[in-house]
Point group: C2
Chain length 219, copies 2
């Protein structure tokens, strides 16, 4: 298809598509005539994926390029998943990663062990977890492996749902794309669901119309 | 305490504290002498909270001010929780909120109903959820209430854990602060735990060292 059709089918403007092409987010089309290029269904899929990572996942164009190129590496599915996963930005701002000492890394590892997780790659998420635990400890929230284990178990159940959804697909690239899409797009959806569920739970547990005295009575 | 002690105990620099004071993130101290002010334990707690929302939650200074002022409203606990909650930034980038049509809002409401959640306030999170469902639908991921219900149930279990942690506290402000701290700080922790659990699950389900042909065999 021509770039105009690529734009129409994806809903992404032609200048944005050209920008993504320059940044290496999409494979360049096949040149058929001067100033004309043909794009494949694969380009369309990549474009939709890039757009979703940027506009919903909030990834930068540079981070998106890193994820997409990682998925293209000619390696096994598991390795390709890992590379794409590790190319995602940390869930924490850079500042939270400063001065995270060994005590927190050790407790992050203890939590992973308690959850029974076997990690094969050189995952950056142990350090992310440690950064989060440090932040919790500064705010007086239980940051220990024991305290966080119930949350880890719910995260594990969530990850099982994620992987269940890609079972049955056989194409390595299709699986990697689907896992990355789910990882990135569902992250804000899950955060939203948790906030809604908190509102429901708070309304169940605390009275609607009274003052502090009565609130303490009902606890 | 003097500003120097406030800085030492919080780990936040004096210029940053002064900036937060100007932005209304902290109550101004009690003036005791020319160019001297006394700060309370309450100021320290507020400062730690502001710092955590900014450096770990990734909130802007303006968004942080909005959350902190919402918590100070002289209303019931439930209302105060709601105000602080609604002052949090959306989990989605602004772009994801564009052109979300009624179809998605209706399905967001169907999901909330299916989950059994009763929402008392005028929550902004129904629209956030609809924005997420639209993004999922564009990427061919199941975005229906039925498809997302298992995720909603896990989010509900997570919210129960969150609220369990504040049970027993009686002070309205202490509860509101604790809920907000947990909501914001645990969001990236939960995202990290899910990514780690995905790595474990992927390693369990897909072989480590072989090519596409064998990968499909084992599915």
């Amino acid at each position: 298809m021509k770039i105009s059709e690529l734009s129409r089918r994806s809903g992404v403007s032609i200048p944005t598509i050209k920008y993504y092409l320059r940044e290496g987010l999409l494979p360049t089309g096949t040149h058929t005539a001067r100033n004309q290029a043909e794009y494949s269904e694969n380009s369309l899929r990549r474009l939709l994926l890039a757009r979703a990572l940027i506009s919903v996942g909030g990834l930068s164009v540079a981070a998106t390029g890193k994820v997409l190129r990682a998925m293209d590496e000619p390696v096994t599915l598991l390795k390709s998943l890992g590379l794409a996963h590790y190319a995602l930005p940390s869930p924490f701002p850079a500042e939270a990663h400063e001065d995270v000492d060994e005590k927190f890394v050790a407790e992050a590892q203890a939590l992973i062990k308690a959850a029974g997780w076997e990690l094969v790659g050189d995952t950056p998420y142990i350090e992310c977890l440690a950064a989060g635990q440090k932040a919790l400890s500064l705010m007086g929230v239980d940051w220990t492996a024991e305290g966080l284990l119930p949350y880890a178990e719910l995260a594990h159940a969530t990850a099982r749902l994620d992987l269940d959804q890609v079972a049955g697909f056989e194409d390595r690239m299709a699986i990697a794309e689907r896992v990355i899409v789910r990882t990135v797009l569902l992250e804000p959806v899950l955060a939203t669901l948790r906030r809604l569920a908190q509102e429901h739970e708070a309304a169940q547990r605390y009275p609607r119309s009274d003052q502090l005295a009565r609130e303490s009575d009902t606890e």
